[in-house]
């Protein structure tokens, strides 16, 4: 059983460039920030290191940080440009009983994160969901399709903060 600071130190020693920092601002648990392309390597290390053994991914959540600048597009609505989208990974170890949170941030214009499909199979649908809701591309995911929204949905990514609902979908009126 290790606390997040110890895990951070361990990771920092192992991967000096990939670990960007630790965010202790959160009231409950600290968050380790990671470089998006390296997430898979670090995940493998976290899973296979006998001292860590993070064998289970509890949840993978996409987040729209909404930290870009708001600009008006042609029909006068706010669109966020720039800033980042983030992915949070909540891990725990079934046997060693410790938990940790990882976070990667990727630019909103071209959101790309390495997939952890081969590390934890839990991430399969979670990554598809993050793609569906935020448009984050998970590189090397074998089956990155929409999951909750219809496959032919082309009105954007609904959970982005600047999402606009379409007027019609297949002839059905969408707004109330």
């Amino acid at each position: 059983m290790k606390n997040p600071e110890e895990i951070f130190e361990l990771l920092k020693k192992e991967f000096p460039e990939a670990i960007l920092g630790i965010d202790k601002e959160a009231p409950t648990e600290p968050i380790i920030l990671i470089d998006p392309p390296q997430i898979k390597t670090i995940s493998l290390f976290l899973r296979d290191n006998p001292e860590l053994r993070f064998d289970s991914l509890m949840v993978l959540s996409g987040v729209d940080d909404a930290n870009g600048t708001k600009v008006k597009d042609e029909d006068g609505t706010d669109v966020i440009s720039g800033g980042t989208l983030s992915v949070y990974y909540h891990l725990h170890s079934v046997y060693l009983k410790h938990k940790i949170t990882l976070k990667v941030s990727t630019p909103r214009g071209n959101p790309q994160v390495e997939s952890v499909y081969n590390v934890w199979r839990t991430s399969d649908w979670h990554e598809r969901e993050a793609f569906d809701m935020y448009g984050i591309i998970f590189l090397n995911h074998p089956d990155l399709r929409r999951i909750l929204m219809p496959y032919d949905w082309n009105a954007g990514y609904p959970l982005r903060k600047d999402y606009k609902n379409p007027e019609f979908y297949q002839g059905m009126k969408v707004p109330y």
Partner: protein, 163 residues
């Protein structure tokens, strides 16, 4: 809505009696399509189960639309599901009836404002006979909805409506 409906122009005694018989048969044997969508489906199941017992009114679930008479839209209809429901509706042979159960099916319910993937009312896709309000409606409310539907069927006629 049946094959013979509104085929006869004059209302003689025979037609009136046949009307009564046909309507009686229709209303006493409303077989529902065994199909649940969301939370309301659990209340629909509770209605069919021992305590409330839908079977008392002759309602039994049939799993295939071909053998059903009524479809109870029990829950939130999403855009992805709406086209499927429409198809199910089309597969039911006439005469067919729709009970819209619960706020979500009536008008979108609590999802009316921000539900980007929720159809705001099943009546945008298929015609509804009875609306049952509630979120979810209690089994008693669904039973009442069925009684209202029976009342509606009782007033149907084989005669053409003359203006």
């Amino acid at each position: 809505m049946g094959l013979l409906d509104k085929e006869f122009s004059d209302g003689n005694v025979v037609i009136a009696k046949v009307d009564d018989l046909f309507n009686w048969a229709r209303l006493s044997s409303v077989w529902q399509l065994g199909f649940g969508l969301a939370c309301c489906a659990i209340e629909m199941m509770a209605t069919s189960a021992s305590h409330y017992d839908f079977d008392r009114f002759g309602v039994i679930p049939r799993n295939t639309p071909r053998q059903a008479d009524a479809i109870i839209i029990s829950g939130t209809v999403t855009l992805k599901m709406a086209t499927r429901i429409k198809r199910l509706y089309e597969q039911i042979p006439d005469p067919k009836y729709i009970i819209s159960m619960g706020s979500c099916a009536n008008c979108g319910g609590p999802y009316w404002e921000h539900g980007y993937h929720v159809l705001k009312g099943i009546d945008r896709v298929i015609p509804v006979d009875v609306y049952v309000p509630g979120c979810p409606p209690r089994p008693e409310a669904l039973l009442e909805g069925l009684l209202k539907l029976q009342e509606k069927i009782r007033n149907e006629s084989l005669r053409k409506k003359t203006v």
